[in-house]
Assembly symmetry: C2
Homo-oligomer: 313 residues x 2
């Protein structure tokens, strides 16, 4: 589009996501003013030094003044409190959005804190295992999906502007119900994180195998789990508490499937195992074809000398 969808954007919460939006708006929407705010004075100082925004507000009540888009980038459990703090400076015409990983509870918390305001939640499915203001970068959202969950009474023009905003940041945008979003993400993101956190914990608590052995021989598969189990603990605590029902439902199904494979191992039933392991290859191919992962073996990991294994052959 020729014109920027918003004139001034306020980002509340300057961690990995908030910081990346700050970089991305400055890089890809050059006419737009970015105002940043974080409840933590040390983060505000760091954000200033990193240039995450044109201006960093020191008072919550002033952060939203003059902005036509306010994006909350705090842990989902902190959305309500952040919105209440921002409310006094928020104009009635401004669009309120967020980047939270669960959408039904966040929509409810924002609606309760900001009655009468325009609220359209969103969730860019992007991130790394790093957290904090210095973890952000402008291209985090490029080629990633952003899911917008407009309430039934949302203004279509505002939904279109939010969509244009995320597309300008490089994302591909999809809209769906908050309820459906929460089910989809429970399986593609929340359950994988829970499983990864669990197995890394299990491995570090064994008596027969030392932690240094676990670390040493992690290339056998374990290390892939440690990456996502290094994600921000506060953010993930809040995700599980706020998307409880969908997570517990997916966990139930996972446990049933795991029990079936466990039984096959105990009984020595190789056919059940082989059939299951063959089916799961197709999903990987789909992900590579959709451009949602690196096709190089081992993610193209660097070897000891900093060269790529896949490129050396």
């Amino acid at each position: 589009m020729s014109e920027a969808p918003f004139a001034q954007v306020t980002i509340v919460g300057l961690g990995l996501l908030g910081g990346s939006i700050g970089h991305a708006v400055q890089a890809f929407l050059p006419g737009v003013t970015v105002v940043g705010y974080d409840a933590d004075p040390a983060v505000r100082e760091q954000a200033r030094a990193l240039g995450l925004a044109h201006r960093i507000a020191d008072e919550a009540a002033q952060a939203a003044e003059g902005s036509d888009l306010v994006v909350f980038c705090v842990p989902v459990g902190a959305m309500g409190a952040a919105a209440r703090a921002i409310a006094p400076g928020l104009s009635m015409g401004a669009l309120v959005s967020d980047v939270g990983s669960s959408k039904e509870t966040v929509a409810a918390a924002l609606a309760e804190a900001l009655p009468g305001h325009h609220i359209i939640p969103a969730h860019p499915v992007a991130g790394t295992e790093r957290s904090g203001p210095d973890a952000g970068f402008a291209t985090l959202f490029r080629n990633r999906w952003c899911i917008i969950t407009p309430p039934v009474d949302a203004d279509p023009a505002l939904t279109a502007r939010l969509l244009a905003f995320w597309e300008a940041l490089g994302a591909r945008v999809e809209t769906m119900d908050a309820d459906h979003h929460d089910k989809v993400l429970a399986v593609t993101s929340h359950l994988p994180h829970l499983i990864a956190y669990t197995i890394v914990g299990t491995a570090s608590d064994l008596e027969q195998v030392t932690q240094s052995e676990v670390i040493k021989y992690s290339a056998g598969g374990f290390r892939d789990f440690t990456r996502i189990a290094a994600s921000d603990p506060t953010m993930w605590r809040d995700v599980f508490l706020s998307n409880k029902e969908a997570v517990l439902e997916m966990l139930q199904r996972f446990t049933e499937d795991l029990t079936e494979l466990q039984k096959a191992i105990r009984k020595g039933d190789g056919e059940v195992l082989f059939d299951h392991f063959t089916r799961t290859r197709a999903i990987r191919r789909g992900i590579i074809e959709m451009g949602q992962d690196d096709a190089r073996p081992d993610f193209g990991r660097s070897d000891h000398n900093g060269t790529k294994s896949a490129e050396e052959e």
Copy 2:
């Protein structure tokens, strides 16, 4: 070392591991002759075209003739049959080894098939999600650990030569009991693969969430699991059947830990979740410090334009 530890090496089974050994010996032990064999004629033909060995034998009984090291690189359930096929051409002085992912059952299968021979099992903890002769490359073992599990009556001179062989291929070598190996690998490799296979299966069987949604939004964590769930089904079926006891024990512990987190989610106990998620970060740091994984965020995955996210910032 100035002299090669073996003069002629036979590789039985020319998939990812066997093919990589073929490339690596030719690259890093230039004086050593490599003979290859695979039970599948199509694989033998492909191996010839790829130059995986100096010579590809067409008969199992001829493959080991004149070799002072024979390395079995077949699925662990096929070790006994492969050894029996090779036996007629195997000299009594040759060292027999393998690359299997479980060691107690493999040691027993080789000993039964080759009575009176020198057998020292080994396991290079290296691999990618690819399989087949064209998946191999010379640097697969560089900076990876290779675990040697010499039986109590092994000739120390032969153990030393096998150690030198793996070091020449770039690996760091450690020796331990087969029993301990199987426990360590159950947690660092076998359990992670079982969990990954399970969750990818669970995700593809849901009614409320389509497979295309799972693929689309996989960047939220799920895609990391699909990489290892794309590993060779025959190899992994055999691993679970051959290391049954240790896998079931680790699975039991994992399930207990998962049940605890499930309960915390159900009760809304954020403190239990937060404490657990904080502990698991330390293991990731250990793995990065040990040089066993790529420290760049997101494994330095390429973005849409083929550039690295971590390098752009």
